[in-house]
Symmetry: C2
Subunit: 295 residues, 2 copies
């Protein structure tokens, strides 16, 4: 913990301040950041607002200033007439390129005094910090299966299975009524990374019988960060809290990473307990009721 605190103080403040003062080009920080965030591809105003976490009024005013300086054009593009899109003008693009170059210079000024091996170590350590920090920012919350984030996950889940299973995948045939995944009959968990859905998992409770885990999916963007493991653990915790003494699940033989995860976390294979047409393997795991109330 001391390492984290120390890191936050020294690295974050020092490097952050460097970045902030160096990459503004005389412009106020907020304007420079906005210009940078719009980028060569342009961006919707709403996206900018969430990404930079700005007040709608303040953002609008900043856009007006950049527009006044001839760097940016805001226009309504595409279907919804309320949604406005900011694009860089030629001048704006040139400015952006300068910022890009300066960003490179700044990075180089950090690397320049280091030896080759130090540079390699720094890059490696930075990537590792970034990755693990990302992992720790993944938030796991129960949501209604009809919630937009939940729907997005279920769509991604179905799309992925359809691509991997030999004969495609039709969610309707898999024997899960997604709408039923709400208390007290079950729960649907969604993992998000800064509001972006990146994973999910469902628990179906059958009083007097083992609870059942379904619809576990993790986005490619966060695989290897332990999100799947966290989802499973939380589902098991909730199953135990609801009084189940066992969980079980079925899976397709093409999902080898998932099968590996199940085995690694205490599941063992059992004979078929249902007739899910997509299932090739069935697993079970006993729950420890004492562990349930934790968290």
């Amino acid at each position: 913990m001391a390492a984290v605190r120390h890191f936050n103080r020294s690295v974050t403040q020092r490097v952050g301040a460097l970045d902030d003062t160096y990459l503004t080009r005389g412009r106020p920080l907020a304007q420079a950041r906005l210009l940078w965030e719009i980028g060569p591809a342009g961006a919707e105003v709403a996206t900018l607002r969430t990404r930079l976490n700005l007040d709608a009024g303040y953002l609008s005013r900043l856009l007006r200033v950049l527009e006044g300086d001839g760097l940016v054009l805001v226009g309504s593009a595409g279907g919804d007439g309320r949604v406005r899109t900011a694009r860089l003008t030629a001048t704006g693009r040139a400015e952006w390129d300068v910022l890009d170059r300066m960003s490179d210079e700044l990075a180089w000024s950090i690397l320049e005094p280091l030896s080759d091996s130090q540079r390699a170590r720094l890059a490696g350590a930075m990537a590792e910090v970034e990755r693990l920090l990302m992992a720790s920012l993944v938030d796991l919350q129960p949501r209604h299966p009809g919630d937009p984030a939940a729907r997005a996950c279920l769509r991604a889940y179905a799309r992925e299975l359809a691509g991997r299973f030999e004969g495609g995948f039709d969610p309707a045939r898999s024997g899960v009524d997604e709408e039923a995944l709400v208390p007290p009959n079950g729960v649907f968990l969604v993992a998000t990374l800064s509001a972006e859905p990146v994973g999910c998992g469902a628990l179906r409770l059958h009083p007097g019988e083992p609870a059942e885990i379904k619809r576990v999916w993790v986005s490619k963007s966060v695989r290897g960060l332990g999100v799947g493991r966290r989802i499973m653990a939380e589902l098991e915790r909730r199953a135990a809290a609801a009084g189940a003494d066992t969980v079980r699940l079925d899976t397709n033989r093409t999902l080898t990473e998932a099968i590996g995860l199940y085995r690694a976390t205490g599941y063992h294979e059992i004979p078929a307990y249902n007739d899910n047409p997509y299932a090739h393997h069935w697993f079970t795991k006993p729950l420890d009721p004492a562990a349930a109330p934790s968290r």
Copy 2:
């Protein structure tokens, strides 16, 4: 380089923003930072000014506000009546404790979702990034030997040698006229880490003869970061640029790390070329004139 840029953007901004918004307790950021920096031990106003890099007037005003809130007391303590010292009152100390606790919580919120092995990896990677970033912030500049930072280095150098040599160390007997270490007869380099002197090295030019390296010292706080190596390389570069084709140096047998560094960077031992009473070993290294103009 991409790793550095990416890291700067994502980690620095995200974590930094978290820190800044979370650790203010409704107070403006600058006030909160100042309160934190004063700390339970108190601090001199001048120290605060350099550490937080604030305008004297602004800092004074911030102190007045904290004083008005009953969190801080500023009084002249100790010898120099101009130097004022800020201390926390009981209320201020309580506030500081809250900040301390919240800082812990923030760190924990990052670690909590991670597995034990991930936590260990994160701590390791953070420490590595911090260390290497520190190394890259060390600045190496020529200074007049009479400059305060240079004097501080020479004092630290003498103090260290006095502690390590069997018979103590008297700079006057070592045959170096420190005032002569200025162009065109020589050069004195000082390494600083955010204005703090952390290392030095001198070059004495003898036209027609080998240049001589003297007074190489690196503070304990930055050892192992390659600062010594950088000082040596820069001295050699300047020697070559001044036309020398060889450098040489003498050293004491108790300075084993230094001897290791000399051997590792291309020096080989030669017979005594002077009668320095503190020297046991003499080294030389041929210079590559082609490399001189670089940088």
